[in-house]
Every structure is written in structure tokens, then in C-alpha cells.
Symmetry: C2
Amino acid sequence: MARTQGSHSDITGPRVREAALRLFARHGYAAVSMRRIAAEVGVQAGALYNYTPDKQTLLFSLLQGHMAELLDALDAAQQSGPALARLERFVHFHIGFHLNRPDAVFISYMELRNLEPAHFQVIEGLRRTYEDRLEDILRAGRAEGVFDMADTKIATLGLIAMLTGVTTWYRPGGRLSADEVAGVYWDMVRRAVAA
Amino acid sequence: MARTQGSHSDITGPRVREAALRLFARHGYAAVSMRRIAAEVGVQAGALYNYTPDKQTLLFSLLQGHMAELLDALDAAQQSGPALARLERFVHFHIGFHLNRPDAVFISYMELRNLEPAHFQVIEGLRRTYEDRLEDILRAGRAEGVFDMADTKIATLGLIAMLTGVTTWYRPGGRLSADEVAGVYWDMVRRAVAA
DNA sequence: GTCTATAGGAAGATAGAC
DNA sequence: GTCTATCTTCCTATAGAC
């Protein structure tokens, strides 16, 4: 593991981020030391500070990167058309995206409390922006008359919680493929909000 | 805060547990020191070891106590009758119980990864037992012909995730009472699994 | 860019006085 | 039952050599 002195690598930065993401997800931000991240990468602890000013900024950067990627990917998925079709696409998108990034999803929900207040505000804002995308779909469907919910805001939060929960139990190679799982969830989502 | 030497209290034990529960929920197990718990209680750090052999056992004990209470309370709620009525009771029970113990719920989901393997197995078993209670209701309803789900196991996990998510946004004194919130969720749950 | 070495502090847990 | 004091280990972050 230990690197010889003077060796270099253009990809140490990404490797630091990958190691930190995995370790934070597995053991928690506070429980993971900079030494341990460094050991995973194969450098000494001091070398990490070439890539982040401090541990807190590393966490923030990981969360911010994940949320930005999430929003970009959602926007890249087509979001026009009838609300029912938009909702189905959202369900498949959300499950597919989250199942492909279990570690990032995990720390985005678990490590919010370890962010400094200013950093927390930024991530919280991005999270709300994402929720608003789903809420827009539900409102559109209500206006179309195809959806009917007792409370649109609660429906938004409830559906996201249900869908995100898939990351707590899904394991690749299990009984169902990710797409089949999304289909099962879509069946429940559709009926939960159908008019 | 600081207690004078030689003072006593029969209730220090419960206060240690309450302080640990609140601090673990707020900042995370790994981020909270024994000194900080002690300061919250008003004793010195060494005094905590009259109530727990170590920090890890304190966490385990909190989680175990919470899960035992959850299962006892569920069993105390009547669970006979038609599946539809049982499911409605489950929804109201789950939301009511969880909204009354936000800190315990939080650490029961967040701090599992900080448990030693043997402790983790115990808590995980209790959690599955609780999930099985809901799965039984869904299976009964399917047998009765009142429920219809694409996948009963996934429905179980999906519904619990949706319901538990209420703790992430609900604040007492908000727009809706806990009971009104449960009603909104029940509306979605009912339709998600109705035949 | 990475190393070694270290400053400076905080952590979990224990010992013995009262 | 709680205190003070302390052991030992680990932590984040920095300095300066290569």
C-alpha cells in the first residue's frame, strides 16, 4: 500500500474522493480519520491536504457533487408530456440513479448533521430543489385530473422516502433487477396518487 | 452544571440515557464524546461508567430498548380483525409512535453501522420482526382479496420507508396534527395496496 | 506531490480519594 | 456515586525536506 517517496499520480485526487465516499458511507464521517482515508489511497495523511483544505470541506464537496449530478441527470431526462408519463419516468430515474450510487445517497442523507451550518444550507437547498421537481409533476397531474392526493406536499415527501428506501435493501444479483424493482415501485406509486 | 463532590442521584442513570439519546441523534454516535454526555448530565466523565461499561454498550442498550418498546407497543395495539382495519391501525400506530420518539427512531436507523457485529445482529433481528408484522397484514389482506400488490415483500419495505420518512419533516405545531398526517399517509397507503 | 515528524489537543477508559 | 487525575491512544492539521 505505502507509496515510495517522490512518486506521483494525477489521479490521487479522484482516489481520495472515492475512498472518502466509501469510508464515510460505511462507517460515518466522524468515525473515519484522515489517516484511514490516506491508508486506503496508499499515501500518508499529510498528502491528503493537497486535495482538500480540511476534512469538513471534503465531506461538503462530496455531497455537493452528488446533488449537482442528481439534478443534472434529472434535467437531462425528458420532463415534458403528460404527468402520468413524467411520474413514471421520475420513478425509474430516481431508483436507477440511487441504486447506482448507494454510497453517495447514503451519506447525503446521513451526514447532513455533520455539515457546518453554511454548508448544510447549500445541500438542503439542492435537496429541496429536487423535491420540487417531483412536486411539480404531482401538481401538473392534479391539474390534468389524472392524480388526486389528500396533500400534495406530503405525497411528494412520502413518495421520495419510499423510493429512496430501496437503497437500504437492494443488492445487485438479488431476486429482481433494478428495472424490475422500479416497476414494482411504480405500480405502488401510480395507485397511491391515481385519481 | 458541575455537581459538588459526593452528591448523589437515583435518577442519574436515566438522565445519562436521555442525554446520550439526544446527543447521538443530534450529532451522531462517533461525534459525541463521553465527556460531552457527562457535561449534559452534570457529572464528570468518569461517573458515566457507573451506568455503562463502555460507550458502545450504551448505544446498543438505547437501540435495544427502543426496538423492544416498539414491538411491545405494537403487540399491545389490537391486531385482529379484517386486514384493511389492521393496516389502518398499523399506519396510525407507526406514525404516532415514531413522531413521539424522533431521537430514538433517528439513531435506530442511523447508528446501525456503529454497532459491533454481534450487537448489530440483535437489532437487525428486532427490526425484521417488526417488518414481519406488517408483511403478515399485507399477506392476510391478499388472502382476503382486499389487497393486491405486485410484490408483498417490497410493498412492506416501501410502506415502512414511506411512513418512517414522516420523522424527517414533521414538527409539532405545524400545519397538520400528527393524527391528520397519519390520515394523509393512510390515504396513500390504502390506495397503494388496494385490490 | 509526497514524505517524515510533530505540534497541540481530545478521545475512551481506569485508579484511587472521599 | 462522584470526584480529580491520569494513562494511552488517536485525532486534525502543519512544517519543512526531498
